[in-house]
Subunit: 363 residues, 2 copies
Amino acid sequence: MHSYIDIRSLNELPKIEAISGIQTMRTIRWDSGTITTIDQTLLPVECRAIECKTVHTLCEAIVSLRIRGAPALGAAGGYGVALAAHTSAASTLREFMRDLEIESDRIRRTRPTAINLTWGVDRVMDAVRRAGSIDEARRIALFEATAIADEDVERNTRLSKHGRALFEDGDTVLTHCNAGRLACVDVGTALGVIRAAVDEGKEISVISCETRPLNQGSRLTVWELMQDKIPVTLIPDSAAGLMMRKGLIDKVIVGADRITRDAVFNKIGTYTHSVLAKEHKIPFYVAAPISTFDPTGLERDITIEERDPDELRRIHDVMLAPADAAVYNPAFDATPVENVTAVITEDGVVYPNESESWNDLFS
Amino acid sequence: MHSYIDIRSLNELPKIEAISGIQTMRTIRWDSGTITTIDQTLLPVECRAIECKTVHTLCEAIVSLRIRGAPALGAAGGYGVALAAHTSAASTLREFMRDLEIESDRIRRTRPTAINLTWGVDRVMDAVRRAGSIDEARRIALFEATAIADEDVERNTRLSKHGRALFEDGDTVLTHCNAGRLACVDVGTALGVIRAAVDEGKEISVISCETRPLNQGSRLTVWELMQDKIPVTLIPDSAAGLMMRKGLIDKVIVGADRITRDAVFNKIGTYTHSVLAKEHKIPFYVAAPISTFDPTGLERDITIEERDPDELRRIHDVMLAPADAAVYNPAFDATPVENVTAVITEDGVVYPNESESWNDLFS
């Protein structure tokens, strides 16, 4: 279904120059009608890129988490519309736009909780609506999608520099899931901040929670940080409490999939870490670009995606539970903003408990 | 190494009559020089019993968690000394006792945090020291080991009846790891209480945390409760916070591997659940026989067993992390007694925060 390209590490990805001139490697990119992205389900065993030449293939890649991570999904959404534009066989602009609406909707529905995906799709769709011809629409779609990806790199670079001041030399920092280069076009959000702190000479050790059931912590975060030679130790999600109680964690930093005025939606387990951090008086930071903010929704309005029960019942052919076990497998949880010390964005650090600057972000 | 006996379910195990006349199935038993026990590492795929004919085989079964669970380890420790007595080739009582000391020590060292194992070994060793001959020593060892196993069934039956009054019709109860029949000779501690509540007509639903990294929740607790037709839903450990925040959990009940005056040692993750329960004002119960109490130790004195890093890096042949990832894999954590609403024992329910009755248990 997907065609694979063998690569050995992220450092083998071609460097692409962003609008600003920053040269970076890209975990998702566009090359003459093809979206190329790392298949994150194969890591850490294999580092392979897949090529998506149709929206159907892209949607499958999003649903099965070959592509994942809030900011990367923003780019995937944008490129997805460009791909729909590229592959539409419509002969009139009206038919073409109808194709795009259908395909956009299909992309949006793959991950309902992740706001960036919808944000990326909508941004490109809004731009395309200005086009006077199919050709122009295709050019605009690709231009706008490329801008999203380029801006993601620049946003995360700025975000990382804003965040690094919050970390001190010698800190041990707990993170959950993967908010790294793999979750973005490049740089990372939570891990971008850690990298930026390391780059300015601070010694930072990372504690990576394995992040059940799909182990993005053990498979992706540990792998990514080991490639960068940043010290990282893998723990089961359930050991965060013990480590905090023993005074072994100085700070917590995570990414986010959606931020409403009252809550941060992120990988299941984030809320538990926030309660533990509060109990142990440990700062709890969220790193996320402004595109993650949901200007209108509140926690009660957001549907939390429930995933396949088999994610808990088995790993490949290994049965972890009876095949007919009842399962509750929510992909995300909501952390009330009262538990969040600060949110790090590309425009600076905001403190949810200072209600004026916080509320400005939602107006 | 082990010889296997195929059985299809716990209900196929032979019923054994305890001293009191209670007929029960046994997850660990002695039959003419052989210890037979369920190999819990094969569940839920296969329900098979293994035979241990040497102390070496028994120790391997304990280290690799074929036999596990605090009360079951008490019986395994006792039967282990009986097996050492049965297999010793010594010709004088002095040599025989030296053999027993060496083998006892080997058994004790397999799981350093689990107090019941040492308690079972010590109880049989203390009895054997009264013997005037090798033959008498063998008889005493087997008698005492059998008494431990028989008493375990009776203790857990009494414990379960004391505990069930704490649960109400319609309760949804979260549990962690496996404190069921598989963790005991029979009946169970935490799950024994739930069974006793169900037996008196209460409708109880159980939420079973999968309990990483060895998945005793998904592999054992879910399987065991499904066999008894008690409604059970499997969740990742990290979803407990979300469920409590949504008001979906009425009570928490867990077992214990050691209880000191100041802390309850139990499977890694228990402490986190206790903090979440406190945050959400949910009762947090521990079910454990008196043999779990450590009369002299305090939390700071207890070594927490660290297990093989590969438990987090892989499941059978499936790699979950880079093969050389640094790992911290503690088997247990300590929950301060301030976080525990009540401890359910065979002699009744005790409240750690009423210091007089609590302190009496350690005098």
